[in-house]
């Protein structure tokens, strides 16, 4: 593998990891709980911004870019802070957006919030440095590990992989827990869940905030790698790419979401990079968006459950212990034992 390819390949791997994390967070909200969060990318962006300013260090007078709360925190802290800010912002937005609204109105609120956020961030130069965004964000542990550029790339692939594993473990724990079960109940039948004593609003809020934390982490991991942040990179269309990824991979299936992250933002969108530059600039970008839209439509028509559909969960009453259990046919024991 030549150096250029190694460089490219490692970059794509980091993108894959970042997209996988983002898809897990969105899947928790959309797939499991049924919240159409069209503002998802805003929480990714917020996490990224937080991580950026917490590694850039305090702003000096001669600084060429504007930002707030500059700090110089050691490695894992900016990423954790990114997650915390993503979660806090989600809580704030959730208070506004998660009221008892029809699901289409709710989607509308989130879409509008996404648009407002982009407008405000682009125009408020003092706070977020306007459309220029932030650049020269230092790479984490760069001075500590002291590696060559290409080895640092592979090192960061490792860091991303570890964070992916932690997030995956965390998400799986949630979706397999009673909370995950309640989330699916809220998604499938809100009134029934409420009738069984589930606090629907609180469950939605929890899914929303946890999703926001994961979104923040994914943004933070990305920004530390590419060393730059700008509001133009996090428009509402990016949320749509993640939605398409989940629809293609498999809604309410964590492995499916990861597969979707591989198929849509990475393979599908990266492959156009290798097309010969035809037509005018911007043509391929526009065609790419057409293709993403068409991909979502095609999957919703032919495979609405995605490549890896949600596992059907059948809840059996546990077999009573004692003499009655012994009388059960042997196959029943196998089916409960094999879980």
């Amino acid at each position: 593998m030549s150096l250029a390819w190694a460089f490219y390949f490692s970059t794509v791997l980091v993108y894959l990891g970042v997209n996988m994390i983002a898809c897990w967070g969105l899947n928790l909200q959309y797939g499991y709980t049924g919240i159409l969060n069209f503002a998802y990318i805003i929480f990714v962006s917020a996490g990224a911004y937080t991580a950026a300013i917490l590694t850039l260090g305090p702003k000096t007078d001669g600084s060429f870019q504007q930002y707030v709360f500059g700090m110089n925190l050691p490695f894992p802290l900016p990423i954790i802070a990114g997650g915390v800010v993503g979660g806090l912002l989600s809580a704030l937005v959730g208070i506004i957006g998660l009221r008892r609204l029809r699901s289409d109105y709710q989607a509308m609120v989130f879409l509008v919030i996404s648009l407002i956020a982009t407008t405000v961030v682009t125009n408020d130069v003092g706070l977020f440095n306007g459309p220029a965004g932030l650049s020269v964000v230092p790479k984490p542990l760069d001075t500590v590990v002291n590696l060559s550029l290409i080895n640092y790339q592979w090192f960061y692939v490792g860091v991303t992989a570890v964070i992916c594993l932690i997030v995956y473990w965390f998400v799986r724990r949630i979706t397999n827990s009673p909370l995950g079960r309640s989330m699916r109940a809220v998604r499938d039948h809100e009134q029934a869940a409420a009738a069984l004593g589930k606090n629907v609003a609180a469950i939605r809020m929890r899914a929303f905030v946890i999703g926001g934390v994961i979104a923040g982490v994914s943004g933070a991991v990305l920004v530390s790698f590419i060393s730059a942040w700008s509001p133009g990179g996090w428009l509402y269309q990016e949320t749509f790419v993640l939605f398409t990824a989940i629809i293609v991979g498999g809604t309410a299936n964590n492995a499916g979401a990861a597969l979707g992250a591989l198929l849509v933002p990475v393979l599908f969108l990266e492959s156009t990079r290798f097309l010969p530059p035809i037509g005018r600039p911007g043509l391929i970008d526009a065609l790419q968006w057409v293709a993403v839209g068409a991909l979502a439509l095609i999957f919703l028509w032919f495979w609405p459950r995605g490549v890896l559909p949600e596992r059907r969960r059948v809840i059996r009453l546990s077999t009573p212990s004692g003499p009655a259990a012994a009388a059960e046919p042997a196959s029943a024991d196998q089916s409960t034992g094999g879980k």
Binding site: S103, M108, L111, L115, T119, G282, A286
Partner: protein
Amino acid sequence: MFMQALGFGIITASILAIGAVGFTTQFGVTNILNLAYGDVMTASAFTAYVANAAGLNPWWGLVCGAIFGALFSFLLNRVVYTPYIRRGSKLFVMIIITISISLIVQNLLQVIWGPQFYSIHVDPGRTVHVLGMVFTTSQLYIIMIAGLALVALHSLLRFTRIGKAMRATASDAELARNCGIGTRRVIDLAWLMSGLLCGVAGVALVMELGSFQSTTGGAFLVPIIAAAVLGGVGQIYGAMLGGLIIGVTTELAAVFINPQYKDVVAFGMLIVVLLLRPQGILSEVASQKEVAA
């Protein structure tokens, strides 16, 4: 200063009112939140541009744009939305479908026309002073078109059988069907009318703005939705009133706060309305309805 801003507000409000009434007619009847509406507006504007470039008067271009909008919306429903609903897509999934269509239309326009700006040349005519507000003749035409379109729609809904059928379908599609109303035809008509108004709004918008590109209509969608929701979904008069309120407020905000925050004001109002009165200012309750096809 204030009167001039109010003048701008009235022009924006007329375009918004046309768009919002078209949006709400379709949304009220079918319950599909058509996020591709703004992009159909842009497509209609490009149709008018082509007609104008072919030598037609811009106002005939507006007619061409309106017809294109009507046919496009009709086909969009017949070819895409209805089949998905028949296949069992819920309200939830329909939003993702309309947003996909929006992306596809917008980017196809960009593929065809590129990212640059176009303009339909309209002779502004003499300027007219009304109570300290200054309008050009073409702006007065736009306001008049808005007035006429809304009166025509009002008459259709109030005084004709098909209008009555449409109102019945909007309030309860199933009950209407059980009473022998051909809801399919009503829904087709709703899409045609909505598309017609969408086309008019799109062309009027780009005439007023002076220049446009493939994203212009999409950017105008949120104020339209804001006006429609403010008025109460499916409420024609509400949408007119909503258009007026949003139009005037955003233009006043542009003058007195910051032109960049014009949209933020519209967005903010939409959110506030959704939180305080999701059923709109003039409306019955927007209940938990499913999509109708």
